[in-house]
Symmetry: C2
Subunit: 316 residues, 2 copies
């Protein structure tokens, strides 16, 4: 015997509304339509679902039981509709975001938290990686968005890159570090302190090397490496070590993490930190609001950085 869920839902509505006519009304159907549906259902069940010869149509014991099940089915159906609805509006679903570890931890994570305060049903799956690992994932659809540093020349044909922040790196140390009290910093000053190295395969590591070369240091002493941002920040705050970090990361976390950027210009490639994603738009609807949210947050962050620098310059 095959019962259609649709029929059970209709039965439930009739029982709930207490009558065939009202039930049909609530369902947006005509009265004869639901009448026949019930007749068909009764025929399939083989047992009357309503007591015969009663005008305000009263359900049988079995009819009432089936109606309860129909009601639960209807609730699930409704849930499905709402899910589709919210998903289409970008208020639900899953977003898979990958990015470079330090920037994700230091800047993006807190923005994600804020984003989820408005879009609580968007599940964000975060992963870490660099350009060479993120790009294939974007291409085969296992990643919706990558957040990484990139120069204009590097942008692949099939991708779109939206820049968020200047990719400027700085040499970071704990606040109150001896070097912060000096007016001008020389190579000899720098060479006194050990370095924290980011993961060896990261752009940051290459930036660190380049930066040191740019200020004349040929050799450098590494006393901590391989950690994520949380570890790096802890070691940095608890020692006189130095490291290279994106300025945005230092700026955002300097209060809580007790960090500071050294007033030392270092060379770095002309890169932007930004969002990379596939050109074709068959992506999760929640991606659009997420992208614009992150972009807006970064605009505000950029403005705060600008403002802060002006104040510092004026005071300095």
């Amino acid at each position: 015997m095959k019962l259609e869920s649709e029929h059970l839902e209709i039965l439930a509505m009739i029982v709930e509304k207490g009558g065939l006519t009202e039930g049909a009304d609530a369902l947006g159907k005509s009265q004869p339509s639901v009448s026949r549906t019930i007749a068909l259902l009764e025929q399939r069940v083989g047992v009357p679902l309503f007591e015969p010869g009663r005008r305000p149509l009263r359900p049988t014991e079995l009819g009432a039981s089936l109606a309860r099940l129909g009601s639960r089915i209807h609730a699930l159906n409704l849930e499905a509709r709402q899910l589709v609805d919210r998903y289409s509006k970008g208020q639900a679903g899953r977003l898979r975001i990958g990015g470079t570890p330090i920037f994700m931890d230091g800047v993006i994570a807190s923005m994600i938290a804020e984003f989820q305060r408005h879009h609580s049903d968007v599940h964000i799956e975060q992963s870490y990686g660099y350009g060479d690992t993120l790009l294939p994932h974007l291409r085969n659809g296992s990643l919706d968005l990558a957040i990484l540093p990139m120069s204009a020349a590097q942008i692949p044909q099939d991708m779109v890159f939206v820049s968020l922040l200047a990719g400027r790196n700085v040499i970071a140390c704990r606040s109150g570090h001896p070097l912060t009290r000096k007016g001008t910093i020389t190579l000899a000053d720098i060479d006194l302190f050990p370095w924290i190295a980011p993961p060896a395969d990261s752009p940051l590591y290459r930036d660190l090397q380049r930066a040191l070369v740019s200020i004349g240091s040929q050799d450098f002493r590494v006393n901590f490496s391989g950690g994520t941002f949380a570890s790096i920040a802890s070691v940095l705050a608890g020692s006189d070590s130095l490291t290279v970090l994106p300025y945005s990361v230092v700026f955002l976390t300097r209060k809580t993490m007790q960090l500071e950027a050294l007033p030392l210009k270092i060379e770095h490639p002309n890169r932007q930190l930004g969002m990379l994603f596939a050109k074709e738009s068959a992506t999760a609807p929640a991606l659009a609001p997420f992208k614009s949210f992150i972009a807006e947050q970064c605009r505000q962050l950029e403005a705060r950085i600008q403002h802060d620098q002006q104040v510092t310059r004026r005071r300095g």
Copy 2:
């Protein structure tokens, strides 16, 4: 937007089976059929439910979520089918049984307990009443079965009466009562003891009056009345009071309740304790097994009574 529960169930099956072809197989439909169903569903949802251009058809995030809901809908649908199935076989549902209080409590209740050991999903709603109140309830469908004493002449045209046990009443007393030790009992012996009277509107009460008239007693002293069987049995067991009870009740409960029947023939109308129900068969399917179960139980009880009497007679 309107999603059909049917479609969600199909989606669930496809996702579960891991492929369109296998899903179609499991559903007993052709592959093109479910293919088009999914196409239609996707069109209504407006978002792809399966990743495009993948041969072992992999669901999208939304597709997977909807499939989970579809699966739950399917489970409820299955539950509905099973409910109908068990209901049709008389293994589920609700039975409303009404009967005379003493007989229901003393004989039928324990049989109901036994019945439910085999039919655990049959919910029995018991109520009490006499012929004049039970009959209308049977007629308007608010009662499925009545259990009461009735003579052949009383059976209504539109009802069927199945007799269960002889309606013989006896005078009951506690076991070890002074009267049980006497060989022959006279009116004068009886008059020494007070009576427990059943409810004044019950057939038993009229039987009590008739019985006492039949043995010559004009007047009798009542020291307890209005109680249900449990109270009557307690008072009976704890005093030297007498009362009138169906022999079947005394027989079944004499061990646990410490009762005994006096070896005294009393006159009573030619009635049978039996089951009364409406002739037309639009009743709960569970009624049929219940009726035959009760009938069989009473046959066995009758046989035990017969056997017991023969043994008693031989010994006596």
